[in-house]
């Protein structure tokens, strides 16, 4: 099971604090987007985040705008997965399309704290924390296929080339 260090946030983390609107219409590569991730929520995040880290948050993560950079910037930061009781619909789609695993976990997120180690087995639908195992419903096969191909664009490329 892959383990990652937790960054912990509250409910309703919106796209404006994940990736500020003032940058959305500036051409930017993912690496530069990563430098602005969570800028208005946790200004220290972008510098300190390590590849493989996991974001654990409250309900309705990613609410607000349709901006895909909110998912792209976190993916480019090296975040390995986001775990929350619920996600906004648009963020959920954008994360899958960017190849960033999002896990809807009904229980357990309250106990996970900043700096804890959390294990994720995406295929088995399991999350481990402090010896407790939590299950989450697997994604439908159509959606899983996108994630497995590394995101929507590589997925569509593969499909079109067949």
């Amino acid at each position: 099971m892959n383990k990652g260090r937790v960054w912990k946030y509250g409910d309703d983390v919106n796209t404006d604090v994940i990736f500020p609107g003032k940058y959305t219409y500036q051409p930017m590569e993912p690496a530069e987007m990563a430098e602005h991730s969570l800028e208005d929520l946790d200004p220290g995040f972008a510098k300190a985040v390590q590849p493989g880290d996991i974001i654990v948050a409250g309900k309705n993560f990613g609410c607000g705008s349709s901006r895909e950079q909110a998912a792209t910037c976190l993916k480019a930061s090296g975040v390995a997965a986001i775990i929350a009781p619920s996600f906004s619909r648009l963020f959920f789609r954008n994360a899958i399309n960017s190849g960033l695993p999002v896990i809807e976990l009904a229980q357990g997120t309250d106990d996970m704290q900043k700096g804890d180690l959390v294990g994720v087995d995406f295929a088995a639908g399991k999350v481990e924390h402090n010896g407790n195992i939590y299950s989450f419903p697997p994604l439908p096969p159509e959606v899983l296929a996108i994630l497995e191909d590394g995101g929507l664009i590589p997925h569509v490329k593969k499909v079109l080339s067949k």
């Binding site: 404006d16 604090v17 219409y25 959606v143």
Partner: protein
């Protein structure tokens, strides 16, 4: 068993007789929308390795977010979009100045009953006011639509929101939707299709129904819907781009939740910083000082909004130390407001007229906020940092509340001026 609006329209688009909640279908939208984000979408499209947009007439592109360009990088972005549109033969392109996409798309006759509209903008939900199934998608998804014209959608469960009674001036659709979002929360309708119905909705203008559907996303909804009626069809005369067939939910459709609200009991409402569901009555925060007042955006920049603000501001002046920004949602609205003298009234009162577009709504230009400043706005979002400094505060209210507050310099119940 009967079907909801969402089930009926997705079944029809997928060529199925019936469809279950949760079922995933692959469909082809009737219309797809993008705006200043088109250049970024075009770059993603290029990565797919397909050279031509499959069906250029499926796409409507409107430049509205940072218009006219305030910096070189925005100018470059617009230029790339114009080149892409030209190269791909996309005819339904509206350049700087025509208006905000969510106003332009209906005005140009693309928001039709019974159609499926996807947009790479979260407020695409607005077109539910015309009986369309309209939802936001991401940029990569839009790029894939360029290439394949197809996308997967999951059939959402539905809420029915029944609004009884009548709204009494100056209480408006904005107060109603803030009240609804405040009571069910920013995730209260997560992934749901929300159908608005009842006497108050029947009585509403098209503009007011657009407010309800525009803000459906602020309670997490996938889409909003108002049943098309005579008002809808009248709006579409001489506008509709093509034929359309209205889709209505079955009488015996199954809803996950049915909520009831009473319009006649409603007082002016306001969303406090920094979430849209942090709602209370205007009275409860009356007296809070403001520095900027924004009248406009895709939520409340229509003629009826400018009219009610002008009614309140007529013969009065904006308080010292307050900037009143007037932002009509489109050129068409601006022209009508000019003809009626509404703009004259607003500018004489001290309002500053901005060009049609998104303006300061997303904090990119035209009136951003400094640290410590407070703004009262008719827009749909008050997130931290959205309108400029992360240490500024935005309150959301109706056009009447914004106008009344601009006069006094503090948050004010508009009924004091009625």
């Amino acid at each position: 068993m009967g079907m909801t609006f969402a089930q009926k329209i997705l079944a029809a688009k997928a060529g199925l007789d019936s469809i279950d909640v949760g079922q995933i279908v692959e469909i082809e939208p009737d219309v797809s929308l993008s705006h200043d984000n088109t250049a970024a979408i075009a770059k993603t499209f290029a990565k797919i390795g397909v050279s031509n947009v499959k069906d250029p007439d499926m796409f409507v592109i409107v430049l509205d977010h940072t218009v006219p360009a305030s910096e070189e990088k925005y100018a470059q972005n617009h230029k790339e979009i114009r080149e892409f549109v030209q190269m791909q033969g996309i005819r339904r392109f509206y350049d700087v100045g025509v208006g905000i996409c969510h106003q332009v798309l209906p005005e140009k006759g693309f928001a039709l009953p019974g159609t499926l509209i996807l947009g790479s903008d979260s407020h695409t939900t607005t077109y539910g006011a015309f009986g369309a199934f309209a939802a936001g998608v991401g940029r990569s998804e839009m790029a894939v639509l360029y290439a394949t014209s197809r996308i997967w959608l999951k059939t959402p469960a539905s809420f029915k929101i029944i609004v009884r009674g009548k709204l009494s001036d100056p209480v408006s659709a904005k107060d109603l939707i803030l009240n609804i979002i405040g009571s069910i929360g920013a995730d209260g309708a997560l992934y749901k299709s929300v159908e608005y119905t009842g006497e108050a909705i029947d009585d509403m203008s098209i503009g007011s129904r657009m407010v309800l559907c525009n803000m459906a996303i602020e309670m997490g909804a996938k889409n909003g819907y108002c049943a098309p009626d005579k008002k809808t069809f009248e709006f579409l005369v001489n506008r509709a781009e093509g034929e359309y067939t209205s889709v209505y939910p079955d009488d015996d459709a199954v809803y996950e939740r049915v909520l009831e609200f009473d319009a006649s009991a409603l007082s002016p409402q306001i969303a406090r910083p920094h979430t849209v569901d942090n709602v209370c009555s205007v009275k409860a925060v009356a007296g809070t000082p403001i520095h900027q007042a924004l009248l406009g955006t895709c939520t409340n920049g229509r003629l009826e909004d400018l009219r009610i603000a002008a009614k309140i501001l007529k013969g009065r002046t904006v308080a010292n130390g307050v900037r009143l920004l007037v932002l009509p949602a489109s050129q068409e609205i601006l022209l009508e407001a000019l003809k009626e003298g509404v703009i004259d009234t607003l500018v004489r009162a001290g309002g500053l007229l901005l060009n049609p577009g998104c303006g300061p709504c997303l904090g990119a230009h035209q009136g951003v906020l400094a640290p410590g400043e407070a703004c009262i706005s008719t827009a749909n979002r008050n997130f931290k940092g959205r309108m400029g400094s992360r240490d500024a505060e935005t309150y959301l209210g109706s056009p009447a509340t914004v106008a009344a507050s601009a006069i006094t310099g503090v948050i004010t119940d508009p009924r004091e001026f009625f």
